[in-house]
Point group: C2
């Protein structure tokens, strides 16, 4: 058993590798290329597990993260974030490493500035919005899309590679059928745009991201590439959406018990907002909660324990509420496992993983601060 | 003007030092000892600004943070978190550095284990709860408090120093009067406990924390020491509670503008949950928001701009909604200032500060990962 004395993010390497293998196998069956999103693990080592499963290209969420993975030897990296014209120097640094870098454009002026600023040719995807309403040009707005595509085609240093859409509205659904409907509509819209651009460029790639869709959508016709990330670990958000089983969740926080309050049946652990972030879910009774509890063992952790939950978080404190029976069993000095609501943000705060056999695994936020 | 290309946490050194000076002056006037809480800045440099203002003792929120400040030479450190019996080795490491360490106890068994485990004498405060209901023995429960105090007095390696209470329920109030009422009640309850322990130990210190109370309470009779932390930077939570003016907020995120959506009048910046955390407030119309916008200048930033706000955050994206007029003025490539909802969590994520003259200031999460 690991000797844990303070909040520690445990990573079940087998579960994680199984998640990666399943998604690569699924993509293979569906004839789409998986370009996994490293925003979740932010780890060169976890990236290498993807490479072991046949992955050759990755997605990242910032130029900083692209630098981190470039330095580790990755040669095909997409930055899934609108080009920030202030970071062109860093873009050139990555290109100079021989990386086949792919960037997102959604604005003509940015396209111009990028073209003027880069020292060598760079591939770009036009970011489209099929209804999530965060970033991207609306798939309904054919004219601005055509203008941007034309501008990119005319730009000496830009190569139009494809169209991208993140249907993040799948996170706001209530189950698998709704996720599939969102994707079906998004695929249809993306392909209408592809057709509308045929005279400008005939062979555009359609790429789509988000773990709910990539995990449950069966009908991928019209999609060439997928770029989900959360599936590498999954978490309670995905479990509550029925996108994964709880035994697929590959990370758990280990939190020491530091206090008990019998009157309120509350257990206080070291594990707060600086470890978990502040994401929460609502249970069937509309009660907010910040994590579910598991029992840690040598070879991983138990299923979720009914009757105990994280009810609130402050900076370092996690307050759990438990039934009488469970309250009596937990002792100060125990280390409880807590499944995170949102694994990406928890990993980002913890900046390190400990595998079940005690190996410490890197995270970008540790090696690039 | 600083050259900013990616999300950067700006620190206005003058505002910060003014906040520190005001609080030390206030404590001096009231005859209480200020033991500022470093959980907010988590920075040796900011700690040294407190020392410059006469501070000799600090509070921290974890043993890790106590190690960080011990190594920087601080000799009087309180860990404002229940003793974690699994961390006694680290406690001994700190004691061995000659630190006058003060720890929180609220459980008899933990007191026993601490007494057995420490290699030299350590001071302890009994953590009490006057109504916040997070940790601490209820001030109403005289018997368990007396038992614990008796146990501490009988323990060879423990020295009973005082009573502590964090009236964190001041954060849930709607203004200054309510904050003062909470404190008045808490001070009364703490002093009833002090009287009830007189036969066990006659000279117990009463220490209370929390920025709202320490900033606005006038009547401090019955309190010996205060230990607030957020006041060092303040933030929008404090501003919305009327505890500080917006010009007292000493930190602002600088976020590059990367996209604009005219149809929705939305502006997208690089600045998301990995930079701000996910704390939010509600405006007068019960609309959730995640930050307010200021204009950055060479010597700091403007007052809050009306008509633009952070409406949502995802991992790296911040989406702002703006009036027509403001929308038109903001350009892609601009760098906007955003005042954080909760400065402690934002600083913890950013792991570094940049002063207005470009000096980079340390944060524990950078030097101790």
């Amino acid at each position: 058993m690991l000797e844990i004395t303070r909040p520690t993010l445990l990573l079940d390497e087998q579960k994680c590798k199984r998640n990666i293998q399943r998604m690569t196998a699924r993509a293979g069956r569906q004839g789409v290329k998986l370009i996994p999103h490293m925003k979740t693990p932010q780890s060169v080592e976890v990236g290498s597990w993807c490479a072991d499963a046949g992955v050759t290209a990755i997605t990242v969420s910032s130029i900083k993260m692209a630098l981190y993975f470039s330095r580790a030897g990755w040669k095909d990296i997409t930055v899934a974030f609108p080009v920030n014209v202030l970071e062109i120097a860093a873009i050139n640094e990555i290109l100079a490493m021989g990386v086949d870098l792919k960037l997102f454009l959604l604005d003509e002026e940015v396209a111009e500035k990028l073209n003027e600023g880069v020292h060598q040719k760079v591939k770009v995807l036009i970011e489209l919005d099929a209804g999530y309403n965060r970033t991207g040009i609306s798939t309904e707005s054919t004219e601005p899309i055509r203008r941007l595509a034309g501008k990119i085609m005319a730009a000496e240093k830009l190569e139009l590679y494809g169209l991208y859409c993140h249907p993040g509205n799948t996170y706001q659904t209530h189950g698998i059928e709704e996720i599939r409907q969102i994707w079906a509509a998004a695929i249809r819209k993306m392909n209408l745009v592809r057709v509308a651009l045929k005279d400008i460029k005939p062979d555009l790639i359609v790429r789509m991201g988000d773990t709910p869709g990539c995990t449950v959508v069966e009908q991928m016709e019209g999609v060439d590439e997928i770029s989900a990330g959360n599936f590498i670990f999954y978490d309670l958000v995905m479990n509550y959406l029925d996108v994964c089983n709880e035994e697929d969740i590959a990370v758990a926080m280990a939190c020491p018990v530091v206090a008990k309050n019998k009157d309120r049946q509350e257990i206080v652990v070291h594990g707060g907002a600086v470890h978990f972030s502040k994401d929460h879910l609502f249970d069937a009774g509309q009660q907010k909660f910040f994590g579910e509890v598991v029992i840690l063992a040598e070879d991983g952790w138990s299923p979720i324990i009914e009757g105990i939950r994280v009810k609130s978080l402050s900076q370092e404190h996690g307050v759990l509420i438990a039934t009488d029976e469970i309250f009596e069993k937990v002792e100060i000095g125990d280390v409880l496992g807590i499944l995170p609501i949102h694994s990406c943000l928890t990993a980002n705060l913890m900046k390190s993983y400990t595998t079940l056999d005690g190996k410490v695994i890197d995270h970008m936020e540790k090696s690039m601060t």
